[in-house]
Amino acid sequence: MRVSGPGTARPMVFAHGFGCDQTMWRAVVPHFAADHRVVTFDHVGAGGSDLSAYDPERHGSLRGYAEDLVEVVRELDLTDVVLVGHSVSSMIGVLAVLTAPERFGALVMVGPSPRYVDDEDYTGGFSRADVAALLESLDSNPAQWSAALAPLVAGPDNPDVALELAESFCRTDPRIARDFARVTFLSDNRDDLPAVRVPTLVLQCTDDAIAPEVVGRYVHSRVPGSVFTRLSATGHCPHLSAPEETAAAIRAFLRTL
């Protein structure tokens, strides 16, 4: 967990999604550190988190991750928090807001999806078979999905550097990553959306293969009073691919509050 920015400023908590760690926010955080108390953290199993805190029971649903987040906020005794959640952390954020409404003042959802699996009258973007294949892929190549790519980054000539990098980026525990994927892609939080009572921004990327625009619009339609902003950034990680645009959209939203 990292905290930066003035202690008296409005707190902003950034929660990373499935697949990486708080490093994801490094291009966005500077845009807010001047006038906000910025908190970034790693979900259990990701980055530098304490793996012993992982509890298969507790973390067998998003609720457990939301409780973790609320604990962070309570630990720091933050109130009127602007919670920025990427991908699955949008839904973790929803659950956290519902769990401790007194702590949160606004919610920003980056590429949210309340349910990835298609259902009757609902398009999530993935069939059951897709998700089964995805989980199968996680099972069959857990190293790839955790950290094994990193050592190769620096090239074979300098393994020491590679090791350092491996420590740095998106390292996740293979077993927890697999479980987190299950929880992420098999949750259904559609019915939690209408209960959200804080000002909410839905940030939707162009051509997001994971959270298609139809899903973002669905979220917007179910969260009362939410704001929908479509970014020109493509893919699923605008905070990496287009940090300026992402920060600007969030700033614009915060100004309206």
Binding site: G17, F18, G19, C20, T23, M24, G60, S61, R63, S87, R115, V117, F126, S127, R128, D130, V131, A132, A133, L134, L135, E136, S137, L138, D139, S140, N141, Q144, W145, L149, A150, L152, V153, L165, F169, C170, R182, V183, F185, L186, S187, D188, D207, D208, A209, I210, A233, T234, G235, H236, C237, L240, S241
Partner: protein, 886 residues
């Protein structure tokens, strides 16, 4: 190329090689042995080579413009967006990322991708260059490796499951715990949405091979109430759960729908796909029950199930094998647990039966014993107990008990309402009539309605929450004694066969115990009824006299004796008195005494004198056929004068108490009644006013610890230790002092006091006697001690005998004896002592008797001695000292 060790032939055509090596860069790009893609930073493809297009079957036009993730399978797409793209952005390069490219025909091309991000001087991304290598073989190898690894993991998981089950089963102490372990572990092992274990109910109702085995649910996990109810209904309704064979998987389909439509409906409603039935069997292949698992959507997870509906109908072979093993393990554990429980229960039952036996041996009355047995039964065997006893009036007076004090009033009400109007349908009546145990397993409402006889009866039985009932008849030698009914309520659970056996054992013990006790009670009651009828409760009033009688039965044995007393007013004013003792103190003795007493009264019609009475009794004894000998004293009193005649048939002499002295009267005993007949000398005298006469039986003066002389001495001493003119008080004093609470023999006591003379009441003869003879009664306190002997003599002045024995006061009645009295001042003393001596108790007295006696007396005494010796043999069998004294 410059390696000197390179084969020479490679260098034989250097020109051609050189030409080939001067590659056309465009051709190299297009036909490189790897796919080549150029992407914009957002992943859009801007350039692709032929190789990639050839591999994928896509045209360059179809590829360019798409984002790379669009070309990938769903899993790879997610990997690209969540991992690859961020890492590329963060690290600038990725290598050997495994991705699945989807070909034009939809098939998947496993690839490895290397990519670098080309950045401008400011670090901003400009382009991504990516090479793609086909990795089909490698991926196949990886998959095979993974599959093997998975198989190993699965195998290890199954082994672990089995190991956990075995270890948890080892700790299980009840069938329910065994069931819980197996259900929980089996469900988790095959990821079933629910599981339950049904156990066959061992019971008398089921005949092997006929119809479905009755089953009961022992444990379940994850099954919703509706599904559980349908499964149970199917199990109870005859679904062949408990049967031989292996694990069966029954898909939810038309076949199941046809056989069990409700169950199939419930399964479909719960989105379940199949039912798996696993036999639970013992080591010898006996089938104890079935583990039933339901496969389908796991209902209790928050997560979406990936299983498409209808895809869980099959069970992997390895899982089926695991389940079969679990079923066998469960069966063996069940057998072990049941054996253990049965052993413990057997010990408890044995202890219970032992306690019951102790209770019955404790010698309480029948009623109290039954009550205690009922209390014991509800503390150890059942919740409620009703014992009906058979009497002449049918089944009456049930004893009831309930384990729960809060329900005691219910069982008591049941006792009050159920009995009188029971008809033949009641199980206890059936048990009684059919002479066999009736076991109603799982009493239901219909059953209650059938055997109750009134709404109130029904209501009470219902309130008792009776679930199980055992009625066992109490029968001995085909004779019904009653019936014991044991009930269990919902909290207790059902009885087992062993419980029924215990109840039958208890009933057998009770039957035998009750038989003995009832016989004993009957004898006791009979003898006492008899006794009561034989002893007049209160003697008649005799004017001028105070009279008291006592009868105490022996404290041990049959509790009835042959002792009696009788006071009969005769026509003409005389009063006949009698005290007697039939040998023994049992029913026979009592019966003999009753007859003797009746005959005595019958003979009194002719008003015979005492000696004549003895004569006649001797004469009629053979005709009466009485089985026992008897001793008796008969007296005739003229109340007006105090004249008294006494004859003894082998009986102890009466005691005269007067003037502070007590002496035994010298009434010479004739032969025992039942012995060869002989004359009984008649004693005659007059009872002075204030004098008291004590008739008693040997129970008062005989004891095991002291000889008869000592007893008689004590009698005399106690008689004068207080007032002597109140017969009641005297009786009590004598009994208190001489007849302890532990009497070996009966005691009959008759005490007669002639009240001090009342001139107005008896002016005539009493006054005459007094006029010429000084009479000093016991009430005359002024009498001097030195005068005591003559006082006593005066008190019994001879009145009407033919032979005067003593010049002072007493004369022997001549009767038929013609025996001169011993030449002593107090012949009574000597005769008494002599009587003692002929009993072998006082040689000195015998000597005195012989010196002053005539042959006739010796003869009589000898006969008496014979009779009494018989008595003492009865009382002291095998006592050698007695024989020597003879």
């Amino acid at each position: 190329m410059t390696d000197p060790s390179a084969p020479r032939d490679r260098l034989e055509q250097p020109e051609e090689l050189a030409r080939l090596l001067v590659e056309d860069p465009a051709d190299l790009y297009e036909h490189a042995p790897c796919g080549y893609l150029s992407l914009l930073p957002d992943g859009r493809v801007v350039k692709v080579n032929r190789t990639f297009c050839d591999w994928t079957g896509l045209t360059p036009g179809a590829v360019v413009g798409l984002r790379l993730p669009d070309l990938l399978s769903a899993g790879s797409r997610v990997f690209y967006e969540t991992h690859l793209a961020p890492l590329l952005r963060l690290q600038g390069a990725v290598r050997e990322a495994a991705l699945d490219v989807v070909r034009a025909d939809g098939s998947v091309l496993p690839c490895l991708l290397n990519a670098i991000e080309v950045r401008d001087e400011g670090g901003r991304p400009l382009l991504v260059r990516a090479t793609v290598f086909e990795a089909t073989s490698r991926r196949r190898y990886e998959r095979a490796l993974l599959a093997a690894q998975r198989t190993a993991t699965e195998s290890e998981r199954r082994a672990r499951t089995l190991q956990q089950v075995v270890s948890e089963l080892a700790a299980a102490a009840s069938p329910e715990q065994v069931a819980e372990v197996v259900v929980r572990r089996a469900r988790a092992a095959v990821d079933a949405s629910g599981a339950g274990l049904w156990l066959a109910v061992p019971g008398p109702d089921h005949v092997s091979g006929q119809g479905p085995v009755p089953v009961v649910l022992a444990a379940s996990d994850g099954l919703g109430p509706a599904l559980l109810a349908e499964l149970t209904a199917a199990a109870e309704g005859g679904a062949d759960l408990v049967r031989s064979g292996g694990v069966r998987t029954v898909p939810v389909g038309p076949a199941l729908g046809a056989a069990w439509p409700e169950l199939a409906g419930a399964l479909i409603g719960a989105a379940q796909d199949a039912v798996v039935v696993v036999p639970v069997s013992a080591a010898d292949d006996r089938h104890l029950g079935a583990l039933v698992l339901v496969l389908g959507v796991v209902g209790d997870s928050e997560l979406i199930s990936l299983a498409e509906p209808g895809t869980r109908g099959a069970l992997p072979e390895a899982d089926a094998e695991l389940l079969a093993t679990l079923g066998r393990q469960a069966g063996q554990a069940l057998e072990r647990v049941r054996l253990h429980q049965e052993t413990a229960r057997q010990a408890t039952r044995s202890a219970f039966l032992l306690d019951a036996a102790r209770l019955m041996a404790a010698g309480h009355g029948v009623a109290e014993t039954i009550e205690r047995i009922a209390e014991l039964a509800v503390s150890r065997l059942a919740d409620m107990c009703v014992v009906d006893l058979m009497t002449e009036g049918g089944l009456v007076q049930p004893v009831v008990a309930h384990a729960d004090p809060a329900r005691r009033h219910l069982i008591e009400e049941l006792r009050d309402v159920h009995l009188p109007r029971r008809d033949g349908a009641h199980p206890s009546v059936r048990a009684m009539v059919e002479h066999r145990t009736i076991w109603l397993r799982g009493v239901d409402e219909a059953e209650l309605v059938r055997f109750t006889t009134s709404p109130r009866h029904l209501a009470v039985t219902r309130a008792l929450e009776l679930t199980d009932l055992i009625c066992v008849p109490l029968v001995l030698e085909n004779r019904p004694l009653g019936v014991i009914s044991l009930g269990a309520d919902a909290r207790h659970g059902l009885f087992t066969e062993a419980d029924v056996e215990t109840a039958e054992q208890l009933a057998l013990q009770m039957s035998q115990g009750m038989d003995v006790a009832q016989r004993y009670e009957l004898e006791w009651r009979t003898s006492h009824t008899l006794q009561a009828s034989l002893l007049p409760p209160t003697p008649p009033e005799v004017p001028g006299y105070a009279l008291a009688v006592r009868y105490l039965p022996a404290s041990r044995g049959a509790d009835v004796g042959g002792d009696f007393h009788d006071v009969v007013p005769l026509p003409g004013g005389d009063v006949a008195l009698a005290v007697g003792d039939v040998v023994g103190h049992d029913v026979t003795a009592a019966a003999t005494m009753g007859q003797l007493r009746s005959v005595h009264r019958a003979l009194l019609v002719d008003l015979p004198g005492p000696a004549a009475l003895v004569d006649r009794l001797h004469g009629s004894w053979p005709l009466l056929g009485l089985p026992r000998m008897a001793t008796a004293l008969f007296a005739r009193l003229d109340p007006a004068t105090g004249d008294l005649r006494i004859a003894s048939a082998g009986h102890l002499p009466p005691l005269l108490v007067a003037g502070g002295r007590a002496e035994l009267l010298d009434v010479r005993p004739g032969r025992l009644l039942g012995a060869p007949p002989g004359p009984a000398p008649e004693w005659a005298g007059r009872l002075a006013p204030g004098a008291t006469l004590v008739f008693y039986t040997d129970g008062l003066v005989e004891s095991r610890t002291a000889d008869l002389d000592a007893g008689l001495e004590r009698l005399r001493a106690v008689a004068v230790q207080g007032p002597t003119t109140d017969p009641g008080a005297l009786c009590d004093r004598l009994l208190d002092a001489l007849a302890g609470p532990r009497r070996a023999d009966d005691v009959a006591l008759l005490v007669l006091t002639r009240l001090p003379a009342d001139p107005l009441a008896a002016p005539g003869r009493a006054a005459d006697h007094r006029s010429h003879r000084p009479v000093i009664g016991a009430g005359c306190e002024e009498a001097a001690v030195e005068q005591a002997r003559s006082d006593l003599t005066d008190a019994l002045e001879g009145a009407s005998g033919d032979v005067s024995v003593s010049g002072d006061a007493m004369r022997w009645s001549p009767g038929r004896t013609e025996v001169p009295a011993p030449p002593v001042a107090f012949p009574g003393l000597d005769v008494a002592a002599g009587l003692g001596s002929v009993l072998g108790l006082d040689p000195a007295a015998v000597r005195r008797l012989v010196t002053g006696a005539v042959d006739r007396l010796t003869t009589v005494a000898g006969d008496v001695a014979d009779g009494l010796r018989l008595l003492t043999r009865d009382a002291f069998p095998g006592d050698p000292s007695r024989d020597e004294d003879r």
